[in-house]
Every structure is written in C-alpha cells, then in structure tokens.
Amino acid sequence: MKYLKFLLIGVFFGIVLYKSEAVSWYRIYEMFRFESFHMYGIIGSAVGLGVLAIQLIKRNRLKSFDGEAIHIAPKEMGLTRYLLGGCLFGLGWALAGACPGPMYILAGAGYWPILIVLFGAILGTFTYGIVKKHLPH
C-alpha cells in the first residue's frame, strides 16, 4: 500500500509524456534541429514549475506524506563527468530518440523494438560500472 503513490505517479508520468508526444522519436529529432517550440515548452514548463515547487518546499520546510522533512541532495561539483557523460548521453538520446523514462513508457505502449534500446541501456550501465574506476570524473 505504501507503494501505491509511486505507482500512481508513474502512471501519471507515463500518460503525460505519451500524450505530450515527449516520447516520440520525431519530437526529439525536431527539438535538436530547433524546428519547433514543442519540446522546449514541455521541458521549460516542467523546470519552471519545478523551481517554484522546490522553493516552496525549502522555504516552508514542507514535509512528505510520511511526515518526514524533504531533503534534496545537491549534486556533487565537477566538470569532466558531467560534460563527457552528458555528451555520450546526448549522442544516444538523439540516435535512439528516447531517454530512460520514455523507454519504459514506449515498452508499455507495445513498441517492442524499444526493448532492444532498453537492453542496450542496461548493457551501457553495466559497462560503466565495470570501467568506472578508469574514467576521469
């Protein structure tokens, strides 16, 4: 029962991303060509609302459903890992036309070839875990 809220959030997330076409390969291509406001509108409004929500949480010290204080861990400072990792991620995002969230959503929609992308992503994650100590961070 304690997981119900997470399930509902996931269902909502899936429906919103599918209906907003954010999980369409075409929209990702169009975004990277700067030929539509569509994806920038989606990401921009999400970030705008996110900034407001996080400020509200921090300033009013809002608590979660379970009554615990909400603490959002800051990201560790650095440059190399974010820039290099980001570039690799971007190459894959533009090629497969999907980032991790959309992969799950498209699998649910029944576009079976996305499972190959998902398998590749798990393989990539696994490979990172193996070679992590040899990479600059």
């Binding site: 996931g10 429906i15 075409y26 990792g85 991620f89 649910g108």
Partner: protein, 154 residues
C-alpha cells in the same frame, strides 16, 4: 529514471563484478514501482487515449527526414523504419537501437543522471552540475543530428 538501470544491474548480480552495483537495491524499490506505473501509463495512453497517433511536425522537419529516408515522417508516433518488427530484420537498425541505448545507459551513469535527473529535477533545484550535463546532452545530440545522421541514414 536512469538509476533504475543501475538497480536492475544490482538485482541481476552486478555486485559480484563491480562495487558500483553493490548497494542496498531494496531501498530503490519505490523507483521501480514508478517505472511499473510508467509502463501502465504508456499502455493506457496508447490504447485508450490516442485515437490519432500522428505527430504534427514542422513541415521543414518532415522534408529533412524524408531526405534521410524516413518515409511518412510524422504520420505515425514513431518511425516504422526503426520501431516496427519488420525494421528489426535489418541488422543496421538493430545496431542503431542497441548502440543508441548503450550510449544512453553509459552516459546517464557517467553524468550521474538523465533528462529527468538533470534537465528537470537538477535544473529545478538550480544545480550547476546539472546545467553542465544538459549542455553536454546538447553537444552530443547536436553532433549526432547534424554530423552523424547524414553518415548513418544518408
């Protein structure tokens, strides 16, 4: 969203080969439940809420995609060349999907987050590392679309 990929590796026994997968994955079950919800959400949206799956792309984008060999760009939700079972019989398409996924998985863990972690949550929390990661996302994405697509699909 991408940290679930790490959790899957940990559940699959990845901890035996790398410390990176040695953590208490049970603490991440909530996140897997979100994924289960997203799968259900995709199913509901596709089967019950989307009578017309076409995408109203910019006509300029459609022309460009047609010149790259994507027929009927925008008339379906995803390009059938890559995302139909017929398309999978072409080893090149299989490689594109596999390599694309690999880069997403590898890059997301290297950068410590994906679109949801950096572009949405990180930027919302005004994190400089997330801004750097998002700049990286675009350097990679633009390189792929402008320089590599003509070589891959042209």
């Amino acid at each position: 969203m991408s940290s679930n990929l790490r959790t899957v590796c940990a559940i699959g026994g990845g901890g035996k080969v790398a410390d990176f997968f040695r953590f208490d994955w049970k603490s991440q079950i909530w996140n897997l439940v979100v994924v289960a919800g997203a799968i259900i959400g995709g199913f509901i949206a596709h089967h019950y809420l989307t009578p017309d799956p076409s995408i109203a792309l910019n006509p300029v984008t459609v022309d460009r995609l047609q010149s790259l060999g994507f027929e009927n760009a925008g008339s379906s939700y995803l390009p059938q060349e890559l995302f139909s079972l017929d398309g999978l019989s072409n080893p090149k398409n299989l490689a594109i999907l596999l390599i694309g996924g690999f880069l997403v998985g590898f890059g997301a863990r290297y950068a410590g987050g994906c679109t949801s972690g950096h572009a949405i949550s990180g930027l919302s929390n005004l994190q400089l590392p997330s801004l750097i990661a998002v700049i990286g996302f675009f350097i990679g994405g633009l390189t792929m679309i402008y320089f590599l697509y003509p070589l891959i699909f042209g």
